[in-house]
Assembly symmetry: C2
DNA sequence: TAAATTTGTTAGATTAATCTAACTTTATAC
DNA sequence: GTATAAAGTTAGATTAATCTAACAAATTTA
């Protein structure tokens, strides 16, 4: 059984992993807002529990066991977010902090019930995949809106950042999952996009926003 | 902000308080399965936070502040139990452990939403009162089944003990809140009762069971 | 490639929550 | 009303998770 603190390290390791599955101590330290020496010592502890591959001065890597346990925590987080939105009526910008706490609840029955009541959802309210009971998670190959060209028409399928500020911004512009967007023009200088969708016929989106919206061609 | 551990001490203090509001260190120690010296030092800490009145070798007493904070944790616990039973379909014997964890979630919105979805319930699934937002809680003056006499007809309104074993026993005999019971006879020797209710025309209940069932006359 | 910067580790201290062993106070029993 | 038992406290150790200061390795820069 991992402590709540250990669970948070595992989750951070999984979400910071690059394509090689590597994470720097420094990045982990910054992400968790915990000083590097503390991170180093925790990594040795997790290595002793066979959850992390640790070698001095080398990047960190989760073991298969570590990856699975991390994915199962993310599963609990995303199921909870989905439950809060679908069954309790919260907005997608309100659920992160609650799910951050509920993900540590130890009760398979509780999460199995949520899953059942939700009809075994594959995606959370932000379009992120919910890992299955074995910790398997597949991200579809979505493009970022920022990678699209003038004239493209695309549908928003997921958001990368789930901070209150970003989601509130999207709410204020009536941007949500499923919205179809047509790209009217792209500013060469800063990649700002002018787009139209729904009642919004001329909306300007900064590159920062376009980088955080995942879309698929329609 | 109290730690999870402090919250558990507060809750235990409230539930162990006698009519004078007093609790012995020894009882608290046994209830929490934590050694007495640890309890003593925690009491000094809670006293420093003005949550407990502490004097050496005297019984412990919650302050008004301590009582309120304890009641608000119990509020979260009981709202959660009610939610789990009413909205998620759990049995009354399944919810204690889950609520024991969820009661520590820090999110007023989350519990406000539960309360709203439940229609502001006054009682939890075991018949215990749910403290209001100010920590006010009133127990109606129920009798124990064990205090009733031969010939009485009563309705079960609450259960004192909420352990799995006891609730499973009640389930196995189809005893639940609202059931009307007629007392056929009381054994003088050990206060065992022979009762009838629903399809159960001759059921024998030990004094241990009768002590744990709260009833009102009908 | 040598110097400077960034990244990572070691050593030792701190805090919260726990424990055991030894001691003191209060309550109970004869 | 003392002796014994039970309840409560003090002192000091332990573990998990954190920190700062100092040092070492790796990377970047000039």
């Amino acid at each position: 059984m991992n402590s709540l603190v250990e669970e948070n390290y595992l989750k951070a390791l999984l979400s910071l992993s690059n394509d090689k599955g590597e994470v720097n101590v420094n990045d982990l330290s910054k992400h968790l807002d915990i000083k590097m020496p503390t991170v180093t010592s925790m990594m040795k502890k997790l290595a002793a529990k066979k959850l992390v591959h640790y070698e001095s001065y080398k990047p960190l890597r989760l073991t298969e066991k570590g990856k699975k346990e991390a994915a199962l925590i993310i599963r609990k987080h995303r199921l909870t977010e989905m439950y809060l939105v679908e069954k309790m009526g919260f907005g997608w910008e309100q659920v992160h902090n609650i799910a951050e706490q509920i993900e540590h609840i130890q009760s398979p029955e509780f999460f199995a019930k949520m899953d059942e009541l939700l009809g075994y959802p594959k995606l959370d309210p932000h379009g992120s995949p919910i890992p299955d009971k074995n910790g398997k998670m597949v991200w579809k190959e979505y493009s970022k809106l920022s990678e699209c060209k003038q004239g493209d028409t695309v549908k928003i399928v997921a958001v990368i950042n789930t901070s209150d500020e970003f989601l509130n911004f999207l709410n204020s512009r009536e941007l949500s999952l499923g919205v179809k967007i047509k790209i009217k023009s792209v500013e060469l200088f800063d990649n700002t996009m002018v787009v139209s969708y729904g009642k919004h016929l001329l909306e300007t989106l900064s590159n920062m926003v376009c980088e955080r919206l995942l879309v698929e061609k329609v």
